[in-house]
């Protein structure tokens, strides 16, 4: 869905007026994300799972792990696939049916943030080179939409992956066979954290809620890894950023990303 319901003009004006004074409608500082809660292991039957609440946005993510055929030119690497769906119960304008461009962008951005960081060492997920590898699927279901699904889904996927348990398969006659009762922790190299920022006029705000999303001129999602390096970027929205604004965003992504990374690590369980 490209736009949430129409924002009333009085609120729109108030949001702008407050930003001039360095304030936001819900009382946050410009660089302050909403309260974040992360619970892992909420879907015990899945191999990993998490529920994230970022303000009033809520996402439930499940990780399923199963043997698969490797991609044609990547026989020495396991598979990682990330999907996202905005459930129709999440928002009055969310429609059931094949994903539109917003949802596709959401899934691909969350996927890239995790993939490009190298979070999961895919070379450790090979059962038989070129024939059989382990596939890790992270599926995000947005259950309540109040803006910034990029970060909510990214945190939920990351937390679900960190806390997942990989079953053990042995190759018997070229067929991967499950070995009951033996599970291992995933091969993690780094923890990616995305921070989404919006530009409203000349002001940069972190973690826009749905109302702020409806007023914004442009947005950017920046993902950093545990070393503080930037591993993924996505600019969106109908307008642009100046170079100064862009550099400011990157600084915010690194500093706030570090704080959120601590929270995700604690939720590992």
């Amino acid at each position: 869905m490209t736009s949430t319901s129409i924002l009333d003009q009085l609120k729109r004006n108030k949001i702008h007026d407050l930003l001039e004074k360095g304030e936001r409608f819900d009382g946050r500082r410009l660089d302050e994300p909403r309260p974040l809660t992360i619970e892992t292991g909420i879907i015990p039957k899945a191999d990993g799972s998490a529920r994230v609440r970022l303000g009033d946005t809520e996402v439930v993510t499940g990780v399923k792990i199963q043997p698969d055929k490797p991609f044609p030119d990547m026989g020495d690497k396991g598979i990682f696939i990330c999907t996202a769906e905005i459930l129709p119960l999440a928002h009055p304008t969310a429609e059931p049916g094949p994903p539109g461009e917003d949802v596709i962008e959401l899934a691909r951005v969350v996927d890239r943030g995790i993939r490009e960081s190298g979070m999961i060492d895919l070379s450790q997920l090979v059962l038989q080179k070129d024939k059989s590898v382990i596939g890790i699927f992270a599926d995000n279901s947005v259950t309540d939409h109040d803006g910034n699904l990029f970060d909510a889904c990214a945190y939920a996927s990351t937390a679900a992956i960190l806390s997942c348990k990989i079953p053990k398969w042995e190759m018997k006659d070229d067929v991967p066979t499950l070995v009951e009762g033996q599970k291992s922790s995933p091969p993690i190299t780094t923890i990616p954290v995305s921070i989404t920022m919006a530009r409203i006029g000349d002001h940069i705000i972190v973690d826009p809620n749905a109302d702020e999303w409806a007023c914004m001129d442009a947005r950017i999602t920046i993902t950093t890894n545990s070393n503080g390096s930037i591993c993924a970027l996505q600019k969106g929205g109908d307008d642009g950023f100046t170079v100064e604004q862009l550099f400011k965003c990157s600084e915010l992504a690194i500093s706030i990303g570090a704080k959120i990374r601590k929270q995700i690590e604690q939720a590992r369980g």
Binding site: I42, I43, P44, K45, A46, S49, D56, E58, V60, T61, G62, V63, K64, Q66, T83, E85, L87, P88, L89, A90, H91, P92, P96, P98, F137, D139, S141, T143, D144, H145, D146
Partner: protein
């Protein structure tokens, strides 16, 4: 379906089932009303290991417009399973099974909701299975009813659902996943407890006429048990702070 070979003892000599329950016992059930911020009404249910979320929007404008009815509101229902909800990851695209279940749930709710008061509108019910463990359509229907009441959609009655079935030639209440796979019959049922009407009924398996009667009676008892839990969920949300 139907008596597959397995090591599982579905009913032992003491009348205890594979998960420790007696023949007339349901799994543990809990329901919470009003769990979502955006939906007009919502409910979350845990029915055994089933974890299901229901959200309701409406009455609201119908799109596409040609689907609207000038004389009455319409009811739409979508049942969907998250990819991570089942043993082997499920493709996110709706399957034929999910579409059929959506229809069956809609038809179970339709007699209860009073949509004649809202011509040209739709009430949309969305059910998402986050974790599945046998009997999801009944659990989904239970959550959907609570979500409709939470939204304030006028209803003549609640709809309560529970399955009955047969394992080891014995009629049982609330069929779990193993019993569904290896048992002899699974009969999901939806029931309006005050108007005493059955609005959802399906059967997988074989029952003699006597077994069928017993199964229906057992199912109704199960539905009545679930009804009390649905009532409590609404009480907890709306009446808990009451001064009465």
């Amino acid at each position: 379906m139907g008596g597959r070979e397995s090591d599982l003892v579905l009913l032992d000599e003491n009348g205890i089932r594979c998960d420790g329950r007696r023949v007339d016992e349901t799994r543990k059930i809990s329901i919470k009303a009003g769990v979502l911020k955006n939906a007009n009404g919502s409910a979350y249910i845990e029915f055994g290991d089933n974890k299901i979320l229901a959200g309701v929007f409406g009455p609201r404008d119908v799109h596409p417009k040609h689907m609207a009815d000038t004389d009455t509101g319409i009811l739409r229902c979508r049942y969907h399973m998250s990819p991570f909800s089942v043993g082997e990851r499920k493709n996110p695209a709706p399957s034929r099974r999910e579409i059929e279940i959506g229809k069956v749930i809609k038809e179970a709710l339709r007699p209860a909701v009073m949509l004649e008061k809202f011509p040209r509108t739709a009430v949309d019910v969305f059910v998402e299975v986050l974790q599945a463990d046998g009997g999801t359509r009944c659990a989904a229907l239970d959550a959907a009813s609570v979500a409709l009441a939470d939204a304030g959609i006028p209803m003549r009655d609640m709809v309560s659902a529970c399955a009955a079935g047969k394992v080891a030639d014995t009629i049982i209440l609330d069929v779990n996943n193993e019993e569904d796979q290896a048992g002899q019959a699974d009969m999901p049922m939806g029931y309006m407890p005050n108007l005493k009407k059955i609005t959802l009924l399906q059967l997988d398996g074989v029952l003699t006429p006597d077994e069928f009667k017993k199964c229906v009676e057992t199912g109704i008892e199960g539905c009545k048990l679930v009804y009390e839990i649905q009532k409590q969920a609404l009480k907890d949300k709306f009446f808990a702070n009451g001064g009465e």
